[in-house]
Subunit: 423 residues, 2 copies
């Protein structure tokens, strides 16, 4: 009969409390709710025996068996999780930053005490991807993970595509609907997905990578016109989080979070609105895809309560996960076909100038696309390149950016290949 202390009573915390109070969750018992200025938070629909407190020390001293941490942010959450474990309490957390940055250390603290530290809610909300890769596909040796891990970005990109609205308008809509924070940096610039990808790399690929070593590229420069060109190429645009174990000598992982062109037939393209998708691949099972709601109080609470059910099922002694993830470096260079979109002040000789730079860097043009009916003073057009190193491409772009014909800076996005790796 696990007694549960809920630490944090915001959107997710309230959804967890509601599910635990629906009358059919025996033997899970909500015993404590802890929140700053808790007197403003007290509700009458939880069981009357629940103790309300503003002081985390009360939780540590209590008879609760499990602490559910849903306050978010790195601190004090990480310290509180550590102290809960040291006090002999299992922990369920929805905290991606803590698990991405301090997860290995905290998992060791938990393992030393045979306590549970579960975090299904930290990645892709209600989609059971942590359990999927850690347990459901434990029989395989996963080599790659591709995901649409940020529902806010995905909502914005689908709005930009369907409504041909600008980035700023899409952001405003997302904020109006409560999908985006007042400061959208973590979502649109990739920090949120970066933390989730680091967790998936550790849990799914067995490779622990430094969060901040995963290169990020923002979706801010994406414009509605990019969706028109993407469509001509049979693609749409997604913020794609990607990690892949590199063959060969090392244990390194190629990883990135960035906007990419993805074929419309790819499961990544099928993430609609605020949905998340994760596709994993291994040598025995092939590609397996998971899709569902990655954010919001209720889906995230399902993940939290599923973790609580796991604790109820297995009892107070946590199972031993084998093979803790090995530390790995991040390779930031990778081969891919590339999409480059320029917005130029038109004049003769521009293609020749670009072609000269590409030639010097050994880059091969695959196609040049130009939609009609744009003004010559701000004319968008697209060049696609055959598969090339992103490092070489960036060197070429540094030269290209010095030309004086740009009306706006160019944008580049890798094109996810059709076929086995994204089918």
């Amino acid at each position: 009969m696990p007694r549960i202390a809920l630490v944090g009573f915001g959107t997710v915390g309230r959804s967890v409390a509601r599910i635990l109070s629906d009358g059919d969750r025996d033997p899970l018992v909500l015993s404590h709710v802890c929140n700053r200025q808790v007197e403003r938070k007290v509700v009458d629909w939880v069981p009357p025996a629940v103790a309300w407190t503003s002081d985390f020390e009360d939780v540590l001293r209590s008879d609760a068996d499990v602490v559910v941490e849903v306050i978010g942010g790195l601190e004090p959450a990480a310290s509180w999780i550590r102290r809960a474990l040291e006090a002999g309490k299992s922990v369920v957390t929805a905290n991606k930053q803590v698990m991405a940055r301090a997860g290995a250390e905290l998992m060791q603290v938990a393992a030393d005490r045979r306590l549970h530290l579960l975090f299904e809610a930290a990645v892709a909300g209600g989609v059971p991807i942590i359990r999927g890769v850690r347990e459901g596909l434990a029989g395989d040796r996963l080599q790659r993970v591709l995901g649409v891990l940020n529902g806010t970005c995905n909502y914005m990109l689908t709005r930009m595509e369907d409504g041909q609205v600008s980035f700023d308008d899409a952001l405003r809509e997302a904020q109006d609907r409560g999908y985006a924070e007042a400061d959208p940096t973590a979502d649109v610039d990739g920090g949120d997905a970066q933390a989730k990808l680091a967790i998936l790399s550790a849990v799914g690929l067995g490779r622990r990578i430094a969060v901040d070593a995963i290169p990020l590229r923002s979706i801010r420069p994406v414009e509605p016109v990019d969706f028109q060109y993407a469509r001509r190429l049979g693609c749409t645009i997604r913020q794609v989080s990607r990690a892949e174990v590199l063959d060969g000598a090392g244990t390194d992982v190629m990883a990135s979070v960035q906007p990419m062109l993805v074929p419309v037939a790819s499961p990544l393209a099928r993430a609609e609105g605020s949905q998340n998708v994760v596709v994993v691949g291994g040598p025995h099972g092939g590609e397996t895809a998971f899709r569902g709601f990655g954010a919001g109080g209720d889906p995230t609470a399902v993940a939290v309560v599923s973790d609580l059910e796991a604790i109820a099922r297995t009892g107070s002694t946590a199972p031993r996960y084998r093979r803790p993830a090995a530390e790995a470096g991040v390779e930031t260079d990778f081969e891919a076909s590339q999409y480059l979109r320029f917005v130029i002040v038109d004049r003769p000789g521009i293609i020749a100038s670009l072609a000269g730079v590409f030639l010097r860097h050994g880059l091969n043009i695959d196609s040049v696309l130009q939609e009609p009916d744009w003004p010559k003073s701000a004319l968008p057009f697209v060049v696609t390149l055959e598969p090339c190193s992103s490092r070489v491409l960036q060197a070429a772009l540094a030269e290209i950016e010095t030309f004086d014909f740009h009306a706006r800076p160019p944008i580049w996005m890798p094109i996810l290949p059709r076929g086995e790796r994204c089918s």
Copy 2:
């Protein structure tokens, strides 16, 4: 250090042995292989300490901790699983017929002894759907499951669509590729999916239903022309397995396995070739979709080895799954829009005759579709009906079948609605 006896050394058994012998599966140890006339089966790539036997009694008497049953079929598999459990051995099985028909009883035998009885491989091969619904979404209260659960049917239907080949030709292709048995009955007529759906109903919905109570309708009457009409309706055709908890007084489940029109944007339509897809829905987490390879030695072996890893992780005492499934009846009538395809010897008055029958039964025609360029002696055309009871429809069709204008018997298929229940 679980010692594993592999019972059955066919395609799946060999794939399991190969994964267990790949040198990196400590502490899992393959200790025994049991197969009829085992001397024909011995291979040199398993560890030399493996004991080979043709006699299951040797396995029961052995020091193996876990029996992996991959012989298939109801008997002797069910008896052997029971005897293994009674001998104190945990069991991992890929056997859908055993788990659908004797699963409740065997799970009780296992639970009484705190032994593991795991069966991830019994449904959707390498797609971790059993763990997904039983553990990953344990925090929700799932109310419905929709799936493409038979890879052979799906291969055939996608071939009929893409290649416009007949059912017989698609079947021959599937047999040539090893996807279909010489006797394809269980696949095309639905018995295979029926067993899997009964398992998903028990594990995912908490409702145990009699396998044979799930109504089946074969994909045999589907013709290439149906895909042309389906496409005009924004749909494709899939063998859909469906179970949904009915609201109201009882605990009944609406369940069926049959060909259905599914919107091309539905995840069910995204099952390609021999893939499986399962979509589950609950009040808190919304719809969650799982997709991957549902058959074949390697994906199925991944599921078996993932179960073995779960045993290694949790140790010899199995977790207690709460809330064993409650017995439930099967409701076979359901409301849906309907697709009816007739092939007629054309003459005036046919639509009027049909319309008269529909009118008497209170059925409302939504559209009448007729592609050009078919001979008048065998003219296919389609009527779609507004949502109606399948029982009422069948009564109307019984009357319609007595008309003398049919060149071939009519076919009817429900149309899966767009939107929340299949999005």
